[in-house]
């Protein structure tokens, strides 16, 4: 059977999209609902916001790179009903309003007039970026789950899993980057001390949230994979076996469950206040989230047609290279 049509840029895009969307979702919740009116909190979250914009931008670049023809990417915005087109629009909205929110915190003197202009719009910009970010998190899972041909993707559990994973990785990314430039963290000023205090408080909340999210992710992932293992559908069953004790078993149990979820959870709970909890655990959570996207995208088995596997096994491997050489490098098509 021919599969694996999507190469590595797509899982990277799904990971970065979820991560970027999750950061803006959490930044909006913290700014507008958890700490309303506390100016030091959004200031401390400005750098994570910038990281989010970079993630979303790089994710889009990955998507364009996967097309192989960068000049036609604008076509992705055309059709109103396609999930992919909605994803492209949400990414654009999130990046634009996220950037407008971020620039209002840039402290450079020469940039001051522009930054000051956007200060008034901060709540509006972060609200729009937060809503778009939430939709991006949901979209990455929904996009795959609408492709019903693939048993492992066509499940309602996948958007739930991707959303939890996106929020969890966003918590980890914020924990690693909160309170950096352009936040004023000078211990000699009252404002700087307020930012340090707010950053610590926000980090504590995100730490607690991530402890819960990692547990939820473990539960959803196990339920999803084990239900596939016991499924009556042959294709789903095959993928379940691949994950639990097949070629993906090491990556699933060792990479995902232990290194990406179990160990960081242990560090979060039992090594709180150490480097393991504040640096190593978030990095492991981020790596686990990326690995999850790769494993899910590559689990694109579909029900074979009768005799399909036999037909494609007969075709010579690497025939594209052979044909290119055979035509002496001249591409006649």
């Amino acid at each position: 059977m021919r599969h694996h049509f999507w190469k590595w840029p797509i899982p990277v895009y799904l990971f970065l999209g979820g991560l970027g969307g999750g950061i803006f979702c959490l930044a909006a919740i913290l700014t507008l609902f958890v700490f309303p009116g506390v100016e030091a909190v959004p200031q401390a979250l400005a750098w994570p916001g910038f990281i989010s914009i970079l993630c979303l931008g790089f994710g889009c670049l990955m998507l364009v790179a996967d097309l192989g023809q960068p000049m036609v990417f604008y076509r992705a915005f055309v059709k109103s009903t396609s999930v992919l087109a909605w994803g492209a629009r949400l990414l654009t909205v999130c990046m634009i309003f996220g950037l407008l929110w971020f620039v209002s915190y840039i402290p450079w003197e020469w940039f001051r007039p522009i930054a000051d202009f956007f200060v008034f719009f901060r709540p509006l910009n972060i609200a729009i970026a937060g809503i778009a970010g939430t939709c991006i998190m949901l979209y990455t899972g929904i996009f795959l789950s609408t492709l019903k041909a693939h048993a492992f993707w066509a499940t309602p559990a996948l958007p739930v899993l991707f959303t939890i994973s996106a929020l969890s990785t966003a918590c980890a990314a914020i924990a690693l980057s909160i309170g950096w430039w352009p936040a004023d963290t000078s211990i000699h000023s009252e404002a700087g001390l307020a930012v340090i205090e707010s950053a610590a408080e926000a980090s504590h909340i995100l730490h607690m949230v991530d402890v819960i999210l990692v547990v939820c992710e473990i539960v959803v992932l196990l339920v999803m994979v084990l239900s596939f293992l016991g499924a009556g559908n042959k294709t789903a069953n095959k993928v379940g076996h691949k994950w639990v004790h097949g070629s993906y078993a090491l990556a699933f149990w060792g990479g995902m469950m232990v290194m990406g979820l179990g160990l960081p959870e242990f560090m979060y709970i039992f090594m709180d206040g150490t480097v393991a909890s504040s640096v190593i655990a978030p990095i492991l959570v981020l790596c686990g989230g990326c690995l999850l996207r790769f494993m899910v995208v590559n689990s694109d088995e579909r029900a074979p047609l009768p005799g399909e596997d036999l037909f494609f096994e007969k075709l010579p491997p690497r025939d594209a290279e052979f044909i290119t050489k055979w035509t002496y490098g001249e591409n006649i098509y």
Binding site: Q69, K148, L305
Partner: protein, 193 residues
């Protein structure tokens, strides 16, 4: 209203692959693209009672195609007569439709120039039918065993309507819910659906 479909009589197919060759030749397909592979599960039974079933395939031109709504550019389209086709000028080769198709009947050629990639599939020879109304797709015209029969399902007098109404038929992966418009008349021993 016209609704095109194809009936494939497995009892008649001998696996000569001439439909595949005709399609590739007339549609000038790149060497790594096959629109209508003729599949087989191999020889079944024990000597001397052996038989081999052939499953000629092509795009199923589904009633509710999974490949059309997922296309972000509107390149994947469905005509009123049920023909599913791709506007190559709109396609950006994102491969969403390739992943959406439960039958694996879409692909992009790796031999195409890097900056002009698009997804290809069978169109029931849409261009030919537009230029020469009443003509069959090339695979149907070529099949000397008359195993492929093309026609209008909404016309009760058409050969396809009569065959579907009278013979036992099945469709591939019907549980996917896309309503494939390729009907198979099973051969001896049947075929895994």
């Amino acid at each position: 209203m016209t609704r095109y479909c194809m009936v494939i009589d497995q009892r008649r197919c001998i696996g000569c692959q001439s439909c595949t060759v005709a399609c590739r030749t007339w549609n000038e397909l790149p060497l790594d693209i096959v629109y209508n592979p003729v599949l087989s599960e191999g020889v079944k039974g024990e000597w001397p009672n052996v038989h081999r079933n052939w499953v000629p395939t092509l795009c199923m031109h589904c009633e509710k195609p999974a490949c059309v709504p997922c296309c972000p550019t509107g390149a994947s389209q469905q005509d009123a007569d049920g023909t599913v086709w791709i506007d190559y000028d709109k396609c950006m080769a994102c491969l969403a439709c390739v992943n959406a198709c439960p039958y694996g009947m879409r692909d992009q050629s790796k031999l195409q120039p890097h900056l002009h990639r698009f997804v290809r599939k069978c169109t029931f020879c849409r261009t030919r039918r537009a230029e020469e109304p009443g003509r069959d797709p090339y695979c149907v015209q070529t099949c000397h065993q008359k195993a492929r029969i093309f026609g209008d399902l909404d016309d009760p007098e058409s050969e396809v309507s009569k065959l579907i109404g009278s013979a036992e038929t099945f469709r591939l992966l019907e549980d996917m819910g896309t309503g494939p418009q390729i009907y198979y008349i099973p051969d001896l021993g049947g075929t895994a659906k």
